[in-house]
C-alpha cells in the first residue's frame, strides 16, 4: 500500500512538473497572444532590442533610447550590452534569439545572410560622407549591410613636450622612427621610448593589422586588399615570404626589443600601465586608436593639449606612412526581424544631428554625418589627427580575417615572437599557416 502511494505521489509530482512547464509555455503563448491582442488594440506596440558591445557609450545610448521611448508609444527599445559581444552574438544567432539591431558585424554573418540590406536607405547615405559608404560596402555583393556613424583613427600618440625638448620630428620612415626612439633612450634613460602593452593580445594583433597589413592595403588598394584576403590570394598576400611585410615587421620589432627601445616588460604590461606611464611622462610613444583618448584624459585632463598624433612610418621599400581611418559605431538590422520599419524608425531618431553630436563627443570619434559638427576632442588633437590623415595613406581595419584566426590569435603569435619562440622568418611562416588554417 505504502509503495502504491509512493508511486502515485511520484507520478503526480512528475506530472505536476510537466504540467507546470506546459502551463508556462501555454501561459507564455497565451500571454503573447494576449499581448498581441493588446498591442493590436494599442496600434501595434512593439519591443525591439539593440545589442551592443560598446561600453563607453552605454549611458548616452540609454539616454537617447529613453527619449525615443518617451516620444512615442508604439515602440519600446531596449539596449542589451555584452562585454564579449562579438562572441555572444554567435550564440544568439545559433539559438534564434537574434536582436533586431546590433553593433556587431562580421563578414561571415554577411555571407550567411544574417543582416538586412540597407543599400536603399538613401536618407542615411545622402547625409554620410561618400568614403563612409565605401567603407560600409560589402566587397562580395556590393551592398551595404551596416551603417557606421563615426570614424576612428589609430596611429602613434606621442609626448609633444619630449619631442620638442629633444628636437625630434615625427618619422615618416622606419629608420627615422628608430633614430627617434634611440635619441629618447639616450637623452632620457628613464623614459620608455615606445610602450607596448603586450599582455593584451588584441593590442599586438592591431600592430599586425596596421603595420604589415597596412603595407598590403597600401600596395593593393583598399578594395583589392579586401578581395585578396577574402580569397586568400597567397600570391598577393605573401605572408610567409622571408623578406615580406610580415617577416620584416617581426625583424624590426625584435630589433627594437634587443636595443631596449620598447619596455622590457612588454609581455606583462597592460593598457592601464601604458596609460599611467604616458600621462606621467614615463613613456614617450604608444600605438593605439582614438578610443584611448578617454582613458588618457581621465588620468590627466591636461594631457589633451600635449598629445601628438602621428602615422605609422613606412618600413618596406616604396611605401608610405599609413594611418588607420576606419568606420566606427556601426548598426546592422537583423534579416529576420519582424519589426524592420520600427528598427529603421529608431535608427532615424538615433541618427538625428543633435543625437549624433552628443554621441560623437561622448565616444571621442568624429561623426561621419556631413551635417554634424561635434567637438569630439581638443583642438590640438583634432589638428594633429587631420594632419596625419592628410600626410599618410588611410587604411581600414582588417575585417576580412579568417573566422578561425582572430586579431587576438595574431597577437598571441606576436607574444610568441617577443618571447623568443620564433625568428622573423619562422614567425612569417607560422602566421601564414595560422591564416590558412583559419580559412578552413
Amino acid at each position: 500500500m505504502k509503495r502504491l502511494v509512493a508511486m502515485l505521489l511520484s507520478v503526480i509530482l512528475v506530472a505536476g512538473i510537466c504540467t507546470g512547464c506546459g502551463n508556462s509555455t501555454n501561459a507564455s503563448t497565451a500571454a503573447a497572444s494576449n499581448a498581441s491582442e493588446v498591442s493590436s488594440k494599442a496600434e501595434g506596440h512593439v519591443n525591439i532590442k539593440l545589442f551592443t558591445g560598446k561600453i563607453e557609450t552605454i549611458d548616452l545610448m540609454n539616454e537617447i533610447i529613453n527619449d525615443f521611448n518617451a516620444s512615442q508609444d508604439r515602440i519600446t527599445v531596449e539596449q542589451e550590452y555584452q562585454k564579449d559581444a562579438s562572441n555572444i552574438i554567435k550564440i544568439k544567432f545559433a539559438s534564434g534569439q537574434v536582436p533586431d539591431i546590433m553593433t556587431t558585424y562580421e563578414q561571415g554573418f554577411v555571407d550567411q545572410g544574417k543582416y538586412l540590406d540597407l543599400s536603399d536607405q538613401t536618407a542615411w547615405w545622402d547625409r554620410l560622407s561618400p568614403e563612409m559608404k565605401v567603407d560600409c560596402t560589402d566587397v562580395k555583393s556590393g551592398k551595404q549591410y551596416r551603417v557606421c556613424t563615426n570614424m576612428t583613427m589609430a596611429g602613434f600618440f606621442y609626448n609633444k613636450a619630449i619631442f620638442s625638448e629633444l628636437g625630434l620630428k615625427t618619422a615618416t620612415t622606419w629608420d627615422e622612427f628608430e633614430k627617434n626612439l634611440q635619441t629618447i633612450k639616450d637623452k632620457k634613460p628613464s623614459v620608455t621610448p615606445w610602450f607596448i602593452f603586450g599582455k593584451e593580445a588584441w593590442h599586438l594583433g592591431h600592430l599586425i593589422e596596421f603595420i604589415p597589413h597596412g603595407y598590403i592595403k597600401q600596395q593593393l588598394g583598399s578594395i583589392e586588399a579586401k578581395k585578396a584576403m577574402l580569397d586568400n590570394d597567397k600570391a598577393k598576400l605573401n605572408f610567409g615570404a622571408a623578406d615580406g611585410a610580415m617577416a620584416t615587421f617581426a625583424k624590426n620589432l625584435i630589433e627594437l626589443k634587443t636595443k631596449g627601445l620598447i619596455n622590457a616588460d612588454v609581455l606583462t604590461a597592460t593598457s592601464d600601465n601604458c596609460v599611467q606611464e604616458f600621462v606621467t611622462g614615463k613613456a614617450a610613444m604608444l600605438s593605439n586608436g582614438m578610443w584611448v583618448l578617454s582613458s588618457l584624459t581621465d588620468a590627466d585632463p591636461k594631457i589633451a593639449d600635449t598629445i601628438g598624433f602621428a602615422p605609422y612610418p613606412s618600413y618596406m621599400p616604396n611605401s608610405k606612412p599609413v594611418v588607420l581611418s576606419a568606420e566606427d559605431s556601426g548598426y546592422s538590422i537583423s534579416a529576420t526581424t519582424e519589426h524592420k520599419a520600427e528598427a529603421i524608425e529608431f535608427l532615424n531618431y538615433l541618427f538625428k544631428a543633435e543625437n549624433q553630436k552628443k554621441y560623437s563627443e561622448a565616444s571621442k570619434a568624429p561623426s561621419a554625418f556631413k551635417d554634424v559638427q561635434a567637438k569630439w576632442a581638443s583642438t590640438n588633437v583634432v589638428s594633429e589627427v587631420n594632419t596625419a590623415l592628410k600626410d599618410a595613406v588611410n587604411i581600414g581595419f582588417t575585417n576580412e580575417k579568417p573566422a578561425g584566426f582572430s586579431g587576438d590569435d595574431a597577437g598571441r603569435l606576436v607574444q610568441d615572437l617577443l618571447s623568443g619562440k620564433y625568428t622573423p622568418e619562422t614567425f612569417a611562416t607560422a602566421y601564414e599557416k595560422a591564416w590558412n588554417d583559419g580559412m578552413k
Binding site: T268, A269, L413
Partner: protein, 301 residues
C-alpha cells in the same frame, strides 16, 4: 494484452514483490532533471562532435575527423600537457594543505573560528577576480610584491616569472591552491570531527604515538572525506579556466593555455563541432583519473 497495460501490470507486480521500493519512485523527478541537463546535452554533444558545424550555417557529418585533427594539433597536445601538469601539481597540494589546515583547526586554541573563516574566505571570491588581484600583486616590474622586494633590494627574487614556463605553472598552481585549500579544509574538518574520541583514547592507552594514531586511526576514518576531496580537486584542477585566463590569458602566446580555454577559443573561432569533440575528449581525460581514484579510495574504505 496491449503494451501500456502490460507495463502497468508488470510495475504493479514488482511493487507487490517489493522489487521496486519507495526510493525508486522518489528518484524519478531527479532522474528527469539529470536526463534533461546532462544526458540529453551529452547525446547532442556527441552528435555535434561528428560534424563540421561552425555555429551558424549547416553542419556536415565528418565522422571522427575532429578527433583525429585534435591529436594532430601541436597546440592541443601542449594544452593537454599544461592541463595535466596543473592538475598534478594542484590536486595533491590542495589535499595535503587542506588536511594540514584541518588538523590545525581541529585543535583547541583561541581565535579558531576567525582562523577558519580567514582560511576559507578566498574560496568565496570569483576565481577570475582572484586571478586579477594576484596579477596586480605579482606583475613583474610593477606589482606590489616587486615594489616590496625592491625596498629591501631583492627585486630580482621575483624576476620575470611570466617569461618562464616552469615559474608560470608554479604560480598558477600556488594561487589555485591558496584559493581553494579552505574548501578542502572544511570537508576534512567535518570528517575529523566525526571520528569518535574513544578511538584516540584507545590508541593512547595502547601506547600509540601521534603519528601512529594519525596513520592507523585518523587516515582510515577520513577515507570518505579523502575520496570526496580527491575527486572534486581532480575535476576542478583538470577543468581549470578562470585563474589561467586572469593571470596569464594562456600566454605568453599559448604556452600556458589549458584545454578549457582551448575549447572556448575554438568554439568562438567558428569551430563549434570541433570544440565539442575536444570537450568530449576532456570529459574522458577527467573521467579516467576520477574512476581510478574512486576505486582506490573505495578499497581503502
Amino acid at each position: 494484452m496491449d503494451a501500456p497495460a502490460s507495463f502497468l501490470k508488470g510495475v504493479l507486480g514488482m511493487i507487490k514483490t517489493k522489487k521496486i521500493g519507495l526510493h525508486t519512485f522518489m528518484a524519478v523527478p531527479a532522474f528527469l532533471l539529470f536526463a534533461l541537463f546532462f544526458i540529453y546535452p551529452l547525446i547532442q554533444g556527441i552528435g555535434m562532435s561528428l560534424t563540421d558545424w561552425d555555429g551558424l550555417g549547416r553542419s556536415n557529418f565528418i565522422g571522427l575527423q575532429n578527433f583525429f585533427d585534435f591529436f594532430k594539433d601541436e597546440r592541443a597536445i601542449t594544452d593537454i600537457k599544461n592541463t595535466l601538469l596543473f592538475a598534478l601539481g594542484s590536486a595533491p597540494l590542495l589535499n595535503i594543505i587542506g588536511l594540514i589546515y584541518a588538523l590545525l583547526m581541529n585543535g583547541k586554541f583561541k581565535g579558531k573560528g576567525i582562523a577558519r573563516v580567514i582560511i576559507y574566505l578566498p574560496a568565496v571570491i570569483s576565481p577570475l577576480i582572484m586571478g586579477y588581484i594576484w596579477y596586480l600583486l605579482l606583475q613583474p616590474e610593477r606589482g606590489f610584491v616587486f615594489h616590496a622586494l625592491e625596498l629591501i633590494g631583492k627585486s630580482s627574487w621575483l624576476g620575470n616569472w611570466l617569461g618562464d614556463y616552469t615559474a608560470c605553472m608554479v604560480v598558477l598552481v600556488l594561487v589555485n591552491v591558496w584559493q581553494y585549500a579552505g574548501m578542502t579544509m572544511v570537508i576534512y574538518l567535518a570528517g575529523l570531527q566525526s571520528i569518535p574520541e574513544e578511538l584516540y583514547e584507545s590508541a593512547k592507552i595502547d601506547g600509540a604515538s601521534y603519528w601512529s594514531s594519525f596513520r592507523y586511526v585518523t587516515l582510515p576514518m577520513l577515507m570518505p572525506s579523502i575520496r570526496i576531496n580527491v575527486v572534486t580537486n581532480i575535476i576542478g584542477s583538470l577543468a581549470v579556466f578562470d585563474i589561467v585566463m586572469a593571470l596569464t590569458d594562456g600566454g605568453p602566446g599559448y604556452s600556458t593555455e589549458t584545454l578549457s580555454i582551448y575549447i572556448m577559443r575554438m568554439c568562438y573561432g567558428s569551430k563549434t563541432g570541433y570544440s565539442t569533440a575536444v570537450a568530449l575528449i576532456m570529459f574522458f581525460i577527467i573521467l579516467i583519473p576520477v574512476i581510478i581514484s574512486m576505486r582506490l579510495t573505495r578499497e581503502k574504505e
